[in-house]
Symmetry: C3
Subunit: 142 residues, 3 copies
Amino acid sequence: MPLIEIHLRRGTGAEFRRAVSRALHQAMVDVLAIPEDDQFHVFHEVAPGNLVIQPVAFGRPRGERVLFIRLSFNVRDAGVKAELFRAIVGNLRDVAGVPEDDVLLTVVETAAENWWASGRTVDPATGYDARMTAGSTGSAGS
Amino acid sequence: MPLIEIHLRRGTGAEFRRAVSRALHQAMVDVLAIPEDDQFHVFHEVAPGNLVIQPVAFGRPRGERVLFIRLSFNVRDAGVKAELFRAIVGNLRDVAGVPEDDVLLTVVETAAENWWASGRTVDPATGYDARMTAGSTGSAGS
Amino acid sequence: MPLIEIHLRRGTGAEFRRAVSRALHQAMVDVLAIPEDDQFHVFHEVAPGNLVIQPVAFGRPRGERVLFIRLSFNVRDAGVKAELFRAIVGNLRDVAGVPEDDVLLTVVETAAENWWASGRTVDPATGYDARMTAGSTGSAGS
């Protein structure tokens, strides 16, 4: 039951935002093995000037076209998070046409029990969604 | 000094949002024993399409009427968080008329020292608001 | 690569928000020793009524003029965070004219590997930006 927030400038099209959402969700399903219905995204569209970034950061040109993306889910191994970042950056490029210099990612991890939704069935042994299989994704769940 | 963010669609009324806020705060006071003045809520009203959710999630119908609610406070026991979730869902139904299928909750916990406001007096032994009593609420504070 | 979010009422001027951003960034550079280009801020301007706070909290008068500021970065010592809070409150007063009663701060800490941006070079020993020096700032990085 991860929550993803996308902070971006006002003025993009609805189709672009839908493509961003699809790109993110596919990476989450592929890498974290979350269920297909486990998609909870919020887009925060902000006015000009409300995304503050230096014109060059880490040696690359930046601007208000960037997407600040915060993903929140249960604890995962560092390797799994690195794989997720690669998948997101690749999908955003392929599905939504976002160059990698416009992608900024951060993850906030929480304890397994820090989520609630009606109808959600949790594996008592892991605290994660009972439909998830503990696969090759490190600490599964959320 | 918890922070609560409510992400919801544009178009609800101010009275509805006030009722949501009261429902959340009462649950925080009742279950976490926070002081009455310790209420810090932000409503993020987003445009149509900017809350992305599957039409059915965890076997229940969903839609853009959902409230994504993120609560941030100091570490609590899992049992206390479960009790808080029950209180919030009940209060949102009773006070604001929100059906439980429209409620999505997540908690981000922080270290006790991760808060600042003028005038706040912290118990040096716990790092929490000095007015709080360590009651039946697990790790008190925040 | 910290992320800072500022939640505030609608109706402030762009110059005020730029001053707030400068005040925050200078404190981050001075206390956490982050690189100058490591500035990622988002302003969330919300409608009247959408910042909910009691008229008096912790014995001080409050109102919708408050700034709820959330900082997210890697783990730091408690003393470093306290120093950062002092620097932010001082800078906001001196640079942006914000009285201390209007400042509310919280920090969300994450693992060092929880960040991604193109071009960012990470010290494999620490997981932090390779340009940072481990100075007097407690656990450096992010």
